[in-house]
Symmetry: C2
Subunit: 557 residues, 2 copies
Amino acid sequence: MKEHARKRIVILGGGFGGIYTAKYLEKALGRRDDYEITLVNKENYFVFQPMLPEVISGTIGILDTVSPIRRLLPKTDLHVRDIESIDLENRTITTSPGFRPHSHVINYDYLVIALGNVTDFRGLRGLPEHAIPFKNLADALYIRNHIIRALEEAAIEHHDAELRRQLLTFVVAGGGFSGVEAVAEINDFVRGVAQNYIGLDPSEIRVILVHSQDRILPEMSEKLALFAQRILQKRGVEIRLNTRLEAATGQEACVAGGERIPTRTLISTVPASPHPIVESLGLPKGKNGRLIANRYLEVEGAKNIWALGDCALIPDPGGEGFAPPTAQHAIRQGRTAAGNIVAAIRGGERRTFDFKGLGTMGALGHRSAVAEIFGMKISGFVAWWMWRSIYLMKLPGWGRRLKVATDWTLDLLLPPELVQLRLAGSMGITQEHFEPGEEVFHQGDLGDRIYIIVTGQADVLREDKGQETVLAHLEAGQYFGEMALLKKTTRTATVRCTAPMDTLSLPKREFSLLTSYLPELRKEFEMVMEERNRDNLSKMAQAGNRPDGVKTMKADE
Amino acid sequence: MKEHARKRIVILGGGFGGIYTAKYLEKALGRRDDYEITLVNKENYFVFQPMLPEVISGTIGILDTVSPIRRLLPKTDLHVRDIESIDLENRTITTSPGFRPHSHVINYDYLVIALGNVTDFRGLRGLPEHAIPFKNLADALYIRNHIIRALEEAAIEHHDAELRRQLLTFVVAGGGFSGVEAVAEINDFVRGVAQNYIGLDPSEIRVILVHSQDRILPEMSEKLALFAQRILQKRGVEIRLNTRLEAATGQEACVAGGERIPTRTLISTVPASPHPIVESLGLPKGKNGRLIANRYLEVEGAKNIWALGDCALIPDPGGEGFAPPTAQHAIRQGRTAAGNIVAAIRGGERRTFDFKGLGTMGALGHRSAVAEIFGMKISGFVAWWMWRSIYLMKLPGWGRRLKVATDWTLDLLLPPELVQLRLAGSMGITQEHFEPGEEVFHQGDLGDRIYIIVTGQADVLREDKGQETVLAHLEAGQYFGEMALLKKTTRTATVRCTAPMDTLSLPKREFSLLTSYLPELRKEFEMVMEERNRDNLSKMAQAGNRPDGVKTMKADE
């Protein structure tokens, strides 16, 4: 092999599959200098998924469920970038640019695709805009801070009971492991910290789990699932079975059948699809868009490409179906892939993936869990104790183990953490979804942004002496809300959605900056505003709402 | 008092001054129901400033230097909001809106202003856009993540040595306690984790402290300051004395005298001003815009208003000058203010503030510090041990103390944390500053945003066969960069700043959204683009760079 040039193995994705492939490769290839391993991941850390729900409740420290990849893989070259494209013909990976807008290309000789899956809300009305996924560390932190913000706001909201009800209702959609663990942690957390909020009535808190099937935890036996349901219900979680989440707005979760649950916090763990890059690859795909691999984890129709983990369809050793998308499978797939790559580089025999699974476990918060291991069904405290012991041992690196063990110990002594981190800066242009009957804003509100209708319809209404006049109908391509911004007044009319509507909106600050420096834009807004002013005047007159004078007439649509 | 209505004491600000005023008030007013305390703060936590630099290096957990205010002050009603205005006549506070765009007004009978100060970069070229303040938890987290990102990018940047130099140079401006502690932690951190980065040459790392006076730590005696300088220099910090930071760009720190230090990380702890709300108040102000208070902490010219902490000028008990802006003073001022408010409500004698200060301490990282206590000057390990013991005792709440003590213990065993949290979402419209000679973008770069010139000038240049042609001069009000966005190409020209320039820029995603839904805007951009294309064609021809054909002519300015 010495005559050969240095070969590069590129691994895409830093989840269980990618990390363990690299780990076993580092071990197998040893100190020889004929290869290099490059791993591309959009974060510089590996997330230990099973403990992620505990980040929401603050049981463990923010960083303690993640491990820096550079420490786990000292011989691997890490590129912390988003992947923009894979060129199978030229064997290159293009990543997003870094500090400078240059493209960054990585060549490969051997490729491992372990990109996992993403929560995919496409095609569900309002979900892309308003549902919060729960997949990675940023999601967990966002959820945690959002929940605390909702509690803070509810505690000082004494006038608007409807808003308080929305703020104090927390909805999780999806009753698989991920959703159940998340709802359990959220429920423990909000009920645990509520006593710290003067002016918050704990009986107003609702935590709801929405699940489309007739029982939760389809991954487990019915007995354990029913146990889990009882435990959650006893702690105050409302479980809605046979209920499918259909749409979402900023204020509501809409479920099939027409019911709308008022909420400002909707978390959805379903549905999932493979990473968008996998979708765009010209390689054969199977169920749910996953890459078809054989039992050696080789991708069908490609050379020197392996796929594993949640983005791959790998035949189950039993012969029926495919390996389930769990961490224990991804870890063993990593070992198999690493072995087969070494065989491809240095020669040797390939091995098949034939791990059959050890069992499943799910935490229910507050010292309870369910587990199905070696054919045994265990629930309650013992299962919880097993859950903690097993995952603590599986957590990579003794440093993390020490930290998490410390966190868990301190958690027995200390009250739940309720610091709210405000992390996001300006959000720029925002996309929002509205359902019929919802108000975009109300007459008298502060004018904080301008809206452009992408699809859907809305009415502009003015209330005067208890009488409502429709001033205009708005539809796709029209904008509204500029008047309060240009004239610096409060909203002088209400805008109410009449057909499911998607909008773009630009905050006040951005609107002011743009209209100051793009005079053409300002001119256009001003022209439309004047036209509308004239129009509204005549409509109000027709409706019998005689305005006192032209000067006081400011419509805001 | 029973006949009186319930009185409301409103405290603005949750720093040392505000928190300790509320704490002493809760104690002094006891269980009686004739008052309520409201505290308005933009975060729901109190930051224990002395330990903030350790968040940068990860020595202590992200949340362990902050305490939830609701736990510290169980009887105080907390409003987590930004303050928008204070109406002295009607005795109301208006805060920013929450989830809905309604204004939120709080009435007060007694008012405590403890808003502290803010880092104030106004009037310094490019600092508002590019210098990172170091004042609160969000700043510390931002700095930490930014530094890790710079290291990640430097480790994979093998082509562009200039960019790598910028990424590996870390500049802190301001040699007071805050700047010195920050630079010490940053230096320890980057040099500590550098070994984890394959492909990073530790000798390329530079950490620079820029200070305008002839020695650092003006708060301390010269002997200790010199000790601190030696320690920092020994560990690799370059100290630039008598050097004033004058301007900043995205790529450089410009210091007086014309030198430009290439860097992507410029942290500045100076200069500071009182909170903007204090500035807008119609009350007499003294040095640096601070509110003038008497020795009872009563604000001059107002009734039932007290001011304390960094936003107030309070006579020093010694009779000369004013109380220094330190935590120990703010805490005692809180006690004095609380006592005097109780006297105002229930009658009783007012007291004056006459605390003289206990001394000063500054940490230098890596088990060294300087301290001046009870007239003694202490440095090195003993001072560090004192620093840790004293601040651990001062940290409010035994829960936090336990956590920080645990963090410090684990820190002895574990390597420094290097997880990079990506927290910020889309940044929307961005403001940037450029100095003459700097490129905004280079021919061939990816087209990622469009720029509008607010002030200043730039040239558009095209390079062809080694020859540079100036295609256009740009100035305030003009925009550039639209072509690569509209035509989805790379930049076909370079734009270089010729006179100090401020720009607004809109990222590709926002630009596309706006131009799709505001057709007028798109039309304008397209018109200007066509005009420029024609113009460039003739200029290139004049300069002898004959283009092959009109079709290949795409300028990007």
